[in-house]
């Protein structure tokens, strides 16, 4: 176990047990295990990386190497609303930069950052495949298209008022 005091004592590793029971002996399942772990915790805490490593017979370095290779995996907790802003070509041509700027003005966060109140995280992601509605963003699995700065402000205000 890690000795550097980086661990988060609130992590309940028991939640991971069913996932490890199901997959740890199935070869080639490391990514699937990490995806399931992220489903459970919202991100991949260091303790989980160590737990997965020991259950799958890998070194923590190997698990971390795989996890950091793929953009899907996060190592910090995310806000209640995860804003995934599409960085595809069509969105770029139709002004996604302006949308990123608007989010930055409204919430004061850039790519990868979370608001102090823990409500919003901004993540700039690869093409979401809704190119005809560009610029596009996805917030917690819901897709918002044909964005304008005005529309973005309204969406953010609406989400804020819900909380």
């Amino acid at each position: 176990m890690c000795k550097c005091n980086c661990s988060d004592s609130n992590i309940d590793l028991n939640l991971l047990k069913p996932v490890l029971d199901k997959y740890s002996n199935v070869k080639g399942s490391l990514i699937t295990i990490l995806q399931n772990a992220q489903e459970i915790y919202g991100y991949l805490p260091t303790e989980v990386i160590y737990e997965v490593a020991s259950a799958t017979g890998n070194t923590p370095a190997k698990v971390m190497g795989v996890a950091t290779f793929y953009t899907q995996f996060r190592f910090k907790p995310v806000g209640k609303y995860l804003i995934m802003l599409c960085q595809g070509t069509a969105c770029h041509v139709n002004g996604s930069e302006m949308i990123a700027q608007t989010i930055n003005e409204e919430l004061g966060i850039s790519d990868g950052e979370t608001t102090d109140d823990g409500l919003f995280t901004l993540s700039c992601v690869a093409c979401l495949g809704c190119c005809s509605l560009s610029p596009v963003m996805m917030i917690n699995d819901e897709t918002y298209g044909s964005l304008t700065p005005k529309k973005v402000r309204e969406i953010i205000a609406e989400l804020k008022s819900r909380s």
Binding site: K27, Y70, A126, C127, L133, G145, S146
Partner: protein, 581 residues
């Protein structure tokens, strides 16, 4: 009477879920509201199709909640004149009428969540034909006769890969579908899986039979949650109907299916990187040979094709390879699906026979440029492709002809750009992407793309130097030569094509510190036209750095030394008095 709401990801993003709920409520349960996948006319979403009692189609577009209520009223009274103003225009109808749909044959027509609808349009009859009357070689020969080539980008003959995998020794073989559609600007594979998942399954089953694989895996992007749900559902239905699993249709052929969700890495579209990822490792490409047909997944013979390739297979078996090869050009047979987006009036999915020109796709089908602006370029093939200028718009769509321009067919992304898009900015956009997505294995790709990204960033920020263009060209050649996989070998294409066709824009940035498209913020200056400004003070109030001064009711001015070029003033000026140059 049949009412159907288009429910692909685009439709849902445009509000189709809400529209379906409003329709359900408004027809008071008298008619069921069905769903279909992506119709392909994404710019008109949400779309509602109503087949009246005489089976005439009334297609309603850009449906709002109020329009949905009007449609329900028309349906309940059987008086379609009531809602005719919301029906699709004759001009917009041309978008579909000018297409020839094979891979997309059922998209937007059948319910993707119901196997019976797929079977009712002839689904799984090709599989039955294969299992009851064709040998493995018969299937491969039929695909050979069709001339089908890989639709994921490389354009390699499908039959050749199948034959190589079939001839490889060993009992354990795998058939893999590459649904890791990472090319920004392409979404045809998502549309096929969301709208017609059984055609993918059927194509894969035929491929698995041909090479002798007992297991099929679909590697699909995690960013496509709806596609994963619909595919999972379709596999279960196919299993229950006896099309998937052991001893399929009593033929003795066994094939099981599994989905593997990707975790976000563009390089995993490269087949050996995809295999590494399937095995749970970092998705870094392997050295070839050995090719996957000899040593692939778990080092067993494997065949990998893309979604669109498989979606053509059942049609080819049912209609014969020749029917497919009758379409197209000498080199490129059949049809190809393009995702037409960007500054084009009618954006969506376009499937046409090879041999049409780019102009026909963008202007005849796509309706030309939004707001009737000037066409500048079309980007094809994503980060591996290039920008094609207006002078080459009559280029015929064909693997070789497109490659000759410096772009590629790629997976079929077609992003249209107008006069307001900066081509240097475009090259930088793609290098930002490839530099981030380079897996790091090859030095030339890992460091070379980073250096190119830095040079391009300097140029768009007005810090370009003499010799930058030549340095970029040198780096491009080195990366092409020094990279192992397709990602690195093609990463320079966006830079090379923009230098080739738009060198003047590079020169304007470097020598004159000007962006001709007026897109590169650092090179712009904002000015207030004293004749148009009425002194409302709105711009001064909105300016975050107080760069604007002036008295109420008299013309204002901008202190360019203070201005951070955020554009707030232009956005808030109601009199069009502010310009950027």
């Amino acid at each position: 009477m049949k009412i159907i709401v288009g429910q692909g990801s685009c439709g849902i993003a445009a509000g189709a879920g809400k529209i379906k709920a409003v329709l359900e409520q408004s027809v008071e349960g008298k008619y069921p509201i069905g769903i279909t996948g992506c119709i392909g006319m994404c710019w008109l979403e949400p779309i509602v199709d109503v087949y009246d009692d005489n089976n005439n189609l009334h297609r309603y577009v850009k449906v709002s909640e109020d329009i949905a209520k009007a449609i329900a009223e028309a349906v309940l009274s059987s008086d379609f004149a009531k809602a005719c103003e919301y029906e699709i225009s004759d001009e917009d109808k041309l978008f579909l009428e000018k297409q020839t749909r094979i891979a997309l044959r059922n998209c937007g027509i059948i319910n993707p969540e119901n196997i019976d609808e797929y079977v009712s349009v002839g689904g799984y009859s090709a599989l039955k034909k294969v299992l009851s009357s064709m040998t493995q070689d018969d299937v491969i020969n039929e695909i050979k006769a069709s001339g089908l080539a890989g639709r994921g980008g490389a354009g390699f003959p499908t039959w050749f890969k199948w034959n190589a995998a079939k001839q490889s020794k060993g009992e354990e073989k795998y058939l893999i579908c590459n649904a890791d559609e990472g090319d920004p600007g392409a979404f045809m594979d998502r549309a096929v899986i969301e709208s017609d998942p059984h055609s993918l399954i059927e194509g894969m089953l035929i491929g698995a039979y041909a090479i002798g694989a007992k297991e099929a895996v679909v590697y699909v992007r995690a960013e496509y949650p709806l596609a994963i749900i619909r595919l999972q559902n379709a596999i279960e239905q196919a299993r229950n109907a006896g099309f998937v699993g052991e001893n399929i249709l009593g033929s003795g052929f066994t094939c099981d299916f599994r989905i593997k969700a990707g975790a976000g890495a563009f390089v995993c579209g490269e087949e050996t990187a995809l295999i590494e990822s399937l095995e749970g490792s970092r998705g870094m490409p392997r050295l070839k040979p050995p090719f996957p047909a000899q040593e692939g997944y778990w080092h067993k013979p494997s065949n990998i094709n893309n979604v669109e390739t498989f979606a053509n297979v059942a049609w080819i078996i049912s209609n014969g390879g020749e029917a497919f090869s009758d379409m197209g050009t000498e080199d490129s047979k059949g049809t190809k699906v393009f995702a037409l987006t960007g500054k084009v009036k009618r954006g969506g999915l376009v499937e046409i026979p090879m041999g049409k020109t780019l102009r026909e796709v963008i202007f005849d089908i796509g309706g030309g440029i939004k707001e009737d602006k000037q066409f500048k370029a079309v980007q094809m093939g994503g980060p591996s492709g290039g920008c094609i200028p207006e002078s080459l718009l009559d280029t015929v769509i064909d693997y070789k002809k497109l490659s000759a321009t410096g772009a590629i067919m790629g997976s079929g992304g077609m992003v249209v750009m107008d006069e307001s898009t900066c081509m240097v900015g475009m090259a930088k956009f793609f290098l930002d992407f490839t530099a981030k997505e380079s897996c790091g294995k090859c030095v030339h790709c890992r460091i070379g793309t980073k250096r190119m990204q830095e040079i391009l960033t300097r140029i768009v920020n007005g810090e370009g130097k003499d010799g930058d263009i030549e340095l970029l060209e040198e780096l491009c050649e080195a990366i092409k030569d020094g990279a192992l996989c397709g990602l690195g070998q093609t990463a320079p294409n966006p830079v090379l094509t923009t230098i080739k066709y738009f060198r003047n824009e590079y020169e304007a940035h470097i020598n004159n510190k000007k962006c001709p498209a007026k897109e590169c913020t650092q090179l712009l200056t904002y000015e207030i036209d004293k004749d148009k400004c009425i002194g409302c003070t709105m711009c001064a109030k909105k300016c975050p750095v107080s760069a604007i001064s002036g008295e109420l009711k008299s013309a204002h001015s901008i202190d360019t030394a203070v201005c951070i070029k955020c554009g707030q003033c232009i956005a808030n000026c109601k009199f069009g008095a502010i310009s950027k140059n």
